[in-house]
């Protein structure tokens, strides 16, 4: 049995309490949400926090709600609830696509949206999903809250904009008309991290794409949203040629590395192929053409 190094543990009773603890304990403290990344890393002693602040009692962070302009998701919302949510499925089918292939049911029962984003693993799927959807992250501290875009949220591999005395509390996804989204992932085995994933979202204006975004996972630290992809999609009419062009842009703008999951060349190919597929499906959904 793998056992972690000694640590102290406290259950937060409110968001304010959690942030206060974090502020007091500093960088040696970590929030534990679902714990499905942090606890294995602690057991392998790759992470050795001195304090764990358990935020699983913060019921105020478990929600998925919508208003006229956006969908708001509490940071503690579990994968399982993202998978099951009809609201999300209706507005952003990319969530259900992705959640079906994230880890396994046991992990999905515990893991959370906020935890996934804060872990900031370059292979993590929900970062690509949120990037494609142009989501914004609400970060709270004792002095108030700030809202950052996904592009600004991820600072680097395993690094986010959330400071030592801050907490990610909510993810906001803008609601715009005529949208479609989809997620494509290739993995070595069910439950494995992605070899490469591609998430796409498009917003149609009649027969043309008004706006479109692609987020990639597992092909480098800074590929969650590619500007040139959005430029190529803006105002373009959907076609196989367009998907190919955008797939090629995605492939050209990622930085995969050869590892046990695959060669860099293969991953670059997948970035292209999966972007083509996710875009094709996103457009089909936006235009009611999905088979």
């Amino acid at each position: 049995m793998q056992v972690p190094a000694p640590f102290e543990y406290e259950r937060a009773t409110s968001v304010e309490h959690a942030i206060a603890l974090r502020e007091r304990l500093g960088e040696e403290a970590r929030f534990v949400a679902g714990g499905h990344s942090l606890l294995p890393m602690m057991k392998l002693r790759l992470a050795n926090p001195e304090y764990l602040i358990d935020i699983n009692d913060l019921s105020e962070l478990f929600y998925i709600s919508e208003d006229a302009n956006e969908v708001r998701i509490g940071a503690m919302t579990r994968h399982r609830d993202l998978l099951d949510s009809e609201l999300l499925a209706q507005h952003f089918p990319i969530f259900r696509d992705a959640e079906k292939v994230i880890a396994d049911p046991v992990v999905r029962n515990r893991g959370t949206l906020g935890g996934s984003l804060c872990q900031a693993d370059p292979s993590e799927d929900l970062s690509a999903v949120c990037a494609a959807l142009d989501a914004a992250c609400v970060i709270k501290s004792t002095s108030g809250e700030r809202v950052v875009s996904m592009a600004d949220f991820h600072v680097g591999p395993y690094e986010t904009a959330v400071g030592d005395a801050e907490m990610l509390t909510e993810i906001r996804i803008p609601l715009r008309p005529n949208s479609g989204s989809a997620y494509e992932k290739v993995e070595r085995r069910a439950g494995d991290w992605a070899i490469v994933s591609s998430g796409a979202a498009v917003w149609m204006d009649g027969d043309v794409i008004a706006n479109g975004r692609v987020g990639l996972a597992a092909v480098g630290p800074n590929t969650t949203s590619i500007e040139t992809v959005s430029a190529a999609l803006s105002g373009a009419a959907p076609s196989e040629e367009l998907y190919q062009t955008v797939g090629d842009i995605a492939a050209a703008n990622c930085s995969p590395q050869t590892d046990q999951r695959g060669t860099a060349a293969y991953k670059r190919h997948l970035a292209m192929e999966l972007t083509r597929r996710s875009l094709r499906r996103a457009v089909a959904r936006a235009t009611g053409q999905e088979a």
């Binding site: 049995m1 793998q2 056992v3 190094a5 000694p6 392998l44 002693r45 396994d104 290739v186 070595r188 085995r189 069910a190 439950g191 494995d192 991290w193 070899i195 046990q260 999951r261 695959g262 060669t263 060349a265 293969y266 991953k267 190919h269 997948l270 192929e273 999966l274 597929r277």
Partner: protein, 798 residues
């Protein structure tokens, strides 16, 4: 004689309520305990005052130990002892023999020879403190260049790994050969078609659900050692401890409680067991050592790691004439292969497969590298996985060159039923076989012709579909004592049967289940022979104090060897029962007739006594025939006459997404013949598990290393086990060709599917890639490796 029968429909099966007294489908007796979480595994054992042991492992693959400072660890408030290799060396315990007559460091004294080798251990009051204290040990290493690439191990300038062995000037372990080199060369010289391919079976790991571990308890006054241990071979382990550590054998009790999977991983004696014994001996308290998952994957018995240059010779019409191979075997830093001593290459000699050849020859060179030791594990039947994979792959390469259908090519060359017993060109005597019906049955179940038609249509449309065929012959049930021993211990198995006065029974085995279902299977064997219901028969196993000597469960040997022992000991008891019955019925022994469960007077079935009546009489106050002792029990030791040779025909169907190179196993048809079947449900379970293993090895598993010798497969996130989502609904069927020399005709089944399935999967994937001109691709065929192969960039995995 062979009978054929597809697997029954589960719905029909459920309707059958009759419980067999003997062979037949029967729910497993052990499952009510195991599926409720009420088993008793090594890590469940808690003893008063028990301490916990953790092992410090080397971060480097090859380095000299300059110094070790344990003072900080010793100062930890909960640490009881810290022991290094130097401490063990003082007791003469720093090195121990392997099962292949090599030596292996218990704790490194001079050098570390593979990453994660054992360097020191801590004993503490709890496992957390033991683990914490490891980080307080300061080891200074002087880095040495490692030997990682097996192909460079014998280079003249390669660093010498085993400088502990006197006079060792290279990394060579052994050369081995089999068959007739000259005769084989002659056939190849004159052959119309010769096909060559380098075929690699990468290093894989059995990764049992339960890792290895033990609780050692040395009783201070008597010196009695009790060792609860994850052992597939408790008796062999006890004798080895006696021989190695000089402990008197009668003072050693090895108990293997419930075991969570073995697959060969739990055959060797690991340094951790020895450390725990030493710790208990020194400290005088019970000591528990349980590996964590990483330790299991990176340090314990791996499997395979063969680079096989294979050649096949044939006529243009597809008559296979000869097979030969040259193998480079990576044994890691210590030769820890657990195979019969006279078989350093295990049973690789059966690489001639299921075909009638004119000649065959193989030679092998085994080398040391800076990797974990092992070599025979993961349900390989002593290297038959490698042998079968090689021959089934090269036969497919031949089919490719001849542009012949691979099933047709096999059918043309299978050994004919009238040729059995068949002696292969490498000297193995296949006991019985009837291959063609099994092959035809698999093809019928698959709808082979229709699949080929579908494939042709799909190829027209640019879709990638593959059909892979393999036909294997296994050699299991080691083994005849004249040929086979491990460290001088003959591979015969004892068995004891005692019938209680009320007609219930207890049978004591030398073998030990790791999940295969011995508690059920062996009760059924006894039931079949004596007519007592299986639920009335207790099966005792895994405790050296309560069971007769034998070599343990691996190499699919339990049914062929101990199964035979169980049948024969039951017959011995039945013979005595017959004498008692003759007294009870007042007739001569010859006038009695046995029908399952009772003896009756010939010609007068109304005069009969049941085995339960006889048992009571055997222990009761009434008269027994003159000269007969009371009681109803017997013991035997069974020495098998030959191995048994199960066989099977497998067909795998895959689809490949041309855009992503993702392979989906759509169907898998497995027809097995393991002779007489004891419990078809358990057999199917064994087959299902092995087929999943095959998909794992073929498509996702490899213990890989970087160039510095860092193991890249240290967790189940890196070393992948297939799930239900990667495996299709298995389609199983069977034929029955009894073994002529086994008492009731059974052959082993435990490893058949692991042996037979990898080539079927790989052959299917390669077949799917035919439009790309691909003839061969090496495992593991991950999406990336398949895609690179499609681009013409296939590279060997090692």
């Amino acid at each position: 004689m062979t009978t054929t029968e597809p697997a029954p429909n589960p719905a029909e099966e459920a309707a059958e309520e009759e419980r067999p007294i003997g062979f037949g489908r029967l729910l497993r007796k052990e499952d009510p305990r195991l599926i409720r979480g009420m088993g008793n595994f090594v890590d469940d054992i808690q003893l008063k005052g028990m301490l916990h042991l953790a092992i410090l492992r080397s971060p480097m693959a090859h380095a000299r130990i300059v110094s070790i400072d344990v003072s900080a660890a010793q100062a930890h408030p909960k640490v009881v002892a810290v022991i290094t290799g130097a401490d063990l060396a003082e007791q003469g315990l720093a090195w121990m023999p392997t099962l292949s007559n090599d030596t292996q460091a218990v704790l490194a004294t001079d050098k570390v020879r593979f990453q994660h080798q054992e360097v020191a251990f801590v004993v503490a009051e709890d496992r957390y403190s033991a683990r914490d204290a490891l980080e307080l040990i300061d080891v200074e290493y002087e880095l040495l260049s490692p030997v990682i690439n097996v192909r460079k191990a014998l280079d003249p300038d390669a660093p010498i790994i085993r400088d502990d062995l006197e006079g060792k000037t290279d990394n060579h372990i052994f050369d081995w050969e089999t068959g007739d080199e000259a005769a084989t060369e002659a056939v190849f010289l004159n052959a119309e078609v010769v096909v060559s391919e380098e075929i690699i079976y990468p290093r894989v790991h059995p990764a049992p659900m339960e890792t290895c571990g033990c609780v050692a308890d040395v009783e201070r006054v008597s010196g009695q050692l009790t060792l609860w241990c994850t052992s597939q071979a408790p008796h062999a382990h006890r004798t080895v401890y006696a021989l190695v550590a000089g402990l008197p054998e009668h003072k050693i009790r090895v108990i293997a409680p419930d075991i969570g999977g073995g697959f060969g991983n739990k055959v060797p004696i690991y340094p951790g067991y020895v450390c725990a014994i030493v710790a208990s001996l020194v400290i005088g308290k019970p000591v528990k050592w349980m590996e964590d998952r990483t330790e299991n994957l990176v340090s314990t018995g791996f499997a395979r790691d063969y680079v096989m240059k294979a050649q096949i010779a044939a006529t243009k019409e597809g008559k296979i004439l000869a097979v030969r191979s040259e193998v480079l075997a990576d044994h890691g830093a210590f030769n820890g292969v657990a195979a019969p001593v006279k078989y350093p290459a295990g049973f690789f000699g059966v690489f001639t497969g299921s075909y009638d050849l004119q000649a065959a020859h193989a030679k092998m060179t085994a080398v040391y590298t800076n990797k974990a030791p092992g070599g025979v594990a993961y349900a390989c039947s002593f290297r038959i996985t490698e042998a079968v994979y090689m021959v089934e792959r090269i036969v497919d390469c031949l089919a490719h060159e001849l542009k012949m259908d691979p099933a047709e090519l096999r059918l043309k060359n299978l050994i004919k039923p009238e040729q059995f017993p068949y002696t292969t060109k490498t000297g193995w005597v296949y006991d019985s076989g009837n291959y063609e019906p099994a092959m035809r049955m698999a093809m019928d179940m698959a709808g082979y012709e229709e699949l080929r038609r579908e494939q042709a249509e799909k190829r027209e449309r640019g879709e990638l579909m593959g059909i892979g065929v393999s036909f294997f012959t296994e050699a299991v049930g080691a083994g005849p004592r004249k040929d086979m021993d491990i460290l001088g211990l003959g591979m015969a198995d004892g068995c004891e049967l005692r019938i209680h006065p009320t007609g219930k029974a207890v049978v004591r085995l030398s073998v030990k289940t790791q999940g295969q279902g011995h508690e059920t299977t062996f009760a059924q064997i006894v039931a079949e022979e004596i007519g007592i219901p299986p639920e009335d028969i207790e099966v005792v196993q895994g405790d050296t104090d309560n069971t007769p000597f034998g070599l343990g469960t691996y190499g699919s040997r339990s049914t062929p060897v101990s199964g035979a022992a169980a049948a024969l000991v039951t017959r011995k008891v039945r013979d005595k029962a017959q004498i008692i019955a003759s007294g009870m019925l007042e007739v001569s022994v010859a006038d009695l007739e046995w029908t399952k469960g009772s003896f009756a007077v010939k010609g007068d079935p109304s005069k009969s006594v049941t085995i339960q009546d006889i048992a009571m009489r055997a222990h009761g106050a009434g008269d027994l025939p003159e000269g007969l002792e009371g009681g109803l029990e017997a013991q035997i030791c069974y020495n098998p006459e030959n191995l048994t040779y199960p066989f099977g025909a497998y067909i795998c169907v895959v689809d490949i997404d041309p855009g992503t190179a993702v392979v989906t196993v759509r169907r898998f048809i497995a027809v097995d013949d393991c002779g007489t079947q004891i419990n078809p449900m358990i057999i199917e379970g064994q087959v299902h598990g092995g087929l999943a293993d095959g998909i794992g090895m073929a498509m996702m598993q490899m213990i890989a290393f970087d160039e510095d010798g860092n193991c890249l497969a240290g967790s189940l996130m890196d070393y992948l086990i297939p799930t239900a989502l990667e495996t299709p609904d298995w389609e199983t069927g069977h034929t029955v060709t009894p073994s002529p020399h086994h008492p009731f005709g059974a052959k082993g089944i435990g490893e058949s599917a692991t042996v037979g399935s990898p080539p079927a999967v790989v052959n299917a994937i390669v077949d799917a890639l035919k439009p790309y001109g691909i003839r061969h691709a090496d495992m593991p065929l991950t999406p990336s490796r398949v895609w690179e192969t499609m681009q013409g960039n296939h590279t060997p995995p090692i």
